[in-house]
């Protein structure tokens, strides 16, 4: 295996991880501030992708599509928070699981009802398509590089938001002591709606960005949802930093595991058995990683001890 291939694969893992981070950041924020397990986060990702596809098809502009995705997911998030989610904060995790599971059913079939049963078209815009040559002669798709850049920009933006702004202070206060911020005269209901809409917008952005190189279809959110949960649990629930580290760990493990496990097993086994067993192990790799992290650090890498 050449060095170039290795670097390319590391970039791939990084890009996958950064996309997971966009999903996981919203999820971990919502959990940290409101203490809510939101299974419907994957639906918001799907809504983002569908909005982007619909707007891009109508206007012909990918950028307008992205704005549509952000707006659509944020609006959907705010609406859901106002109608359903805010009734769940006082309930236990079990009720939250059931209610947000019900939301998945409604969102998925509702989307299919509106957009039909076939996948939608959403493509990489002309100015971002095709590969570029990196130093060292590595050919890498420009769009994927852009994804890494956008993801990192969002990470920095989030960090600034939380550490430097008034909203950030309220969010941090909300994570630490919920009664206290209400006592300080902050409109807690409004804060919750804003945080939820923010998380939803991040998920919608991820859905739209990923939708351009994947399939925009009903049910696209659930596999990503599970991965995002893996990420925030590895990172420590409520920690944005943890979500970033966890996401990159999961991205790299999944990508590199898929390549190296079969190669590694070929040293001992015949090629086709090795590929087959290697791929099975690779599918399980991130879950093994997660279980291992939790066994060693029961509250994740950066989680406050519960």
């Amino acid at each position: 295996m050449s060095l170039i291939l290795l670097i390319e694969q590391v970039l791939n893992g990084l890009q996958f991880g950064i996309m997971l981070f966009l999903m996981a950041a919203g999820l971990t924020l919502i959990f940290g501030v409101m203490g809510l397990i939101n299974l419907a986060h994957g639906s918001l990702y799907m809504i983002g992708a569908f909005c982007a596809a619909a707007v891009a098809a109508a206007t012909g502009s990918f950028l307008l599509g992205l704005i549509g995705a952000l707006a659509g997911a944020a609006i959907a998030g705010a609406l859901v928070e106002l109608v359903v989610i805010r009734r769940l904060y006082t309930k236990d995790h079990l009720d939250q699981v059931l209610a947000t599971f019900a939301l998945i059913l409604i969102f998925s079939e509702g989307t299919r009802w509106i957009f039909g049963s076939f996948p939608l078209f959403l493509n990489v815009p002309e100015f971002l398509s095709g590969p570029v040559t990196l130093p060292g002669g590595i050919e890498y798709p420009l769009y994927r590089l852009t994804l890494i850049a956008v993801g990192l920009a969002v990470a920095i933006g989030l960090w600034l938001l939380i550490s430097r702004t008034r909203l950030g202070v309220q969010i941090r206060a909300g994570e630490n002591d919920r009664e206290m911020i209400a006592a300080l005269g902050i409109d807690i209901a409004r804060l919750y709606t804003i945080v939820f809409a923010l998380g939803a917008a991040l998920a919608g952005l991820a859905g739209a960005l990923v939708g351009a190189i994947q399939s925009v279809q009903v049910g696209m959110g659930e596999p990503v949802l599970i991965l995002a949960f893996v990420v925030i649990v590895i990172g420590g629930i409520g920690s944005i930093k943890g979500a970033l580290v966890g996401a990159i760990l999961v991205g790299l493990t999944d990508t590199l595991g898929g390549i190296f496990l079969p190669e590694f097993l070929k040293l001992f086994l015949d090629p086709s058995t090795a590929t087959s067993i290697g791929s099975s192990l690779a599918s399980m790799a991130i879950y093994i990683l997660m279980a291992a992290v939790l066994i060693l650090r029961p509250a994740g890498l950066f989680g406050a001890r519960a």
Binding site: F31, I37, V84, R87, L88, K91, H93, L94, D95, V97, L98, A99, F101, A102, L103, I104, L105, I106, S108, E109, G110, R112, W113, I226, F229, V230, V233, I237, S276, I277, S279, S280, S283, M284, Y287, I288, M290, A291, L294, I295, P298, A299, G300, G303, A306
Partner: protein
């Protein structure tokens, strides 16, 4: 408000009356549907021991459901093909006998629950939910790529396994068998919750410190509950496989774990009959709504939402109020 005891009796009466009606009305499929509800109820009663009594929110009970299913699938598959399961270190042959399969299902899922429990109980709260989910996903992906036993295609067993003295191919006899097991499992869960172990477990869930000062190890109590819980769900898995005469990795999926949990929440957490009522209502909804439109998931979602938002303590809570059950 109805007394919970009467509601429980009514539920059991329904489980007996509906199949009798089905026979006279020549609606044999209703019996199959009821069997599905009974098997799901057993799985959920199992989970409820961990969840309701021990406070262990496991989103990985599909592991035990699936292991029970595959115990049946693998044993019956070898019996069906007249091949030995393994010849080393000693010969193990397949079997078509339900009691043997049940035993295998219980043993395998208890062992799995023991290992998963020891590892998972290092965590608590949401982390526990997620680590059990992780174990579920591991088994799911393993089963998908396990080509010897069908991988994603699963295993078909052509004829339902046998039980001494019964013709299990007759839907009503198989139903009776499952219902009998459900009653046994309910009896066990009821006795367990009133036993010294159950009381200690209940205390461990609410005030772990007090249990520790009493000289008991709360983690060990929870581990025992988790193993018992896994064993019962495993038994349900074997029955489910026999009901469908088929096993596949979907039994291991996180959606299966979620569904088993939903039965409990729907019926009422910690209530003896919560899982039973929940499974019955869910199966009925799935059946009726499925005939209404292609988009029936929307209605199912809305209904579940209404129950969570406006019903306190699931269906039993709505009907009987917040009555303390068994303590």
């Amino acid at each position: 408000m109805i007394r919970e005891r009467y509601l429980n009796a009514l539920t059991l009466a329904l489980f007996v009356a509906i199949p009798f009606w089905a026979i006279t009305a020549d609606e044999p499929f209703t019996i199959t549907l009821m069997t599905r509800a009974v098997v799901f109820a057993i799985a959920a009663v199992g989970l409820n021991i961990a969840l309701g009594l021990g406070g262990l929110v496991s989103l990985g009970h599909a592991v035990f459901f699936g292991l029970g299913g595959y115990a049946m699938g693998i044993l019956a598959y070898h019996a069906q093909n007249y091949t030995a399961l393994t010849e080393w270190p000693f010969l193990i042959e397949g079997t078509k006998s339900m009691p043997v399969i049940w035993l295998a299902a219980i043993v395998v899922s208890s062992l799995a629950a023991l290992v998963i429990g020891i590892l998972s109980l290092r965590t608590a709260g949401v982390y526990f939910i997620m680590i059990t989910l992780a174990f579920g996903q591991m088994f799911f992906f393993f089963a998908i790529s396990w080509a010897e036993y069908g991988g994603e295609d699963g295993l078909s067993i052509y004829v339902r396994n046998g039980f001494p003295g019964l013709n299990t191919l007759d839907p009503i006899q198989f139903y009776g068998l499952c219902l009998g097991l459900l009653c046994l499992v309910l009896l066990f869960a009821w006795r367990l919750s009133g036993s010294p172990f159950g009381l200690a477990l209940n205390a461990a869930r609410q005030v772990p410190v007090r249990v520790e000062t009493a000289g008991l190890d709360p983690v060990r109590l929870k581990l025992v509950a988790f193993v018992l819980s896994g064993a019962i769900t495993g038994l349900a898995g074997a029955l489910f496989a026999d009901l469908n005469r088929f096993v596949s990795p979907t039994m291991f999926s996180w959606q299966t774990s979620g569904e088993i949990m939903i039965f409990i929440i729907l019926g009422g957490v910690g209530r003896l009959f919560g899982p039973v009522v929940g499974a019955l209502v869910f199966v009925a909804l799935e059946h009726w709504l499925g005939g209404l439109s292609d988009f029936w998931h929307i209605y199912l979602g809305l209904l579940l939402l209404v129950i969570v938002l406006f019903g306190r303590g699931g269906l039993i809570g709505m009907l009987c109020g917040r009555e303390a059950v068994h303590d």
